[in-house]
């Protein structure tokens, strides 16, 4: 039978999913019987959910994002143009099918 320490370690290290099915079943059974491990597991889930909430999905909506994206696009195109110009001239047209999809 798994100890609380082993169960807690498996949960915190995300290794439960990799465990063999019978070990997973044993751990589920342990969680059913042990309120401390259940509480621990719930706390870790709450911490993950809290971090997701705090990070928010509003990154792309912020006022500065549009400016940043424009600037990144410009710098990326500069970086790519610069190097290609040093070498051979770029192909004006991309090849029709450079790679066989199969």
């Amino acid at each position: 039978m798994s100890s609380c320490r082993e169960v807690a370690r498996l949960i915190a290290s995300d290794e439960l999913a990799d465990a063999a099915w019978f070990n997973r079943a044993l751990i589920r059974l342990h969680l059913l019987m042990c309120r401390h491990c259940r509480g621990y597991s719930a706390q870790l889930r709450a911490i993950g959910a809290g971090a997701r909430d705090r990070s928010g999905s509003n990154v792309a909506d912020s006022a500065s994002f549009e400016k940043l994206q424009t600037s990144v696009l410009e710098r990326c195109l500069d970086a790519s143009d610069g190097t290609i110009a040093e070498g051979r001239a770029p192909d004006p047209e991309p090849p029709e099918s450079p790679i066989d999809p199969l």
């Binding site: 401390h36 911490i47 994206q69 990144v72 990326c76 991309p94 999809p101």
Partner: protein, 209 residues
Amino acid sequence: MDKTTSELESATNVGSPTFAARIRERDAEALEEVVRRYLPHILRAARGAGLAQQLAEDVAQDTFVTFVETAPRFEGRSHVRTWLFGILYKKISAARRSRARDDEMDDIEEVFEQRFDSAGSWTRPPLPVDTEVYDAEVRQGIDDCLDRVPTNQRMAFVLREIEGMDAQEICKILEVTRTNLGVLLHRVRNRLRECLETKGIEPESHVEL
């Protein structure tokens, strides 16, 4: 006709070999697609890793510039996203170097062990929590608690919990084994849990209603 459709999909699907070839050639449209698709994620991860807004924007920008500079070496063996986050991780490590304490020895392991007896049962079990109260405590305290976490642990946490990546991809980005990743996640989660628990019982951090 089918073939044309699949070629077209293959060329615009960022995970495909055709797309990898376009990245190597620094095809402007392909680069733009990558920026538009992943900049929000890269910026969010940089913020999540603890960089202030301006620094996070600078690091995100540098990440894409390095991405374009190194694009000719992109072989498509890993996903574009994995490659990008790998660059980001190196930039974040450099930016946080002064404060990073990615020691092998980590006192959180000792703190964790001390919660169990020799048989492995809880001697100091987690404090029983009301879920709503705990959620409020997490929201209030997590930034502060995350601040004390070493960069590699923090990145592991951000990629897993915020970006929702699977273990295999995170291992490639952080260049660690699955076992190492387990240790990083174990440490960061226990560190956060302990930190929040300490905050929760301090009288001055009571939530004012």
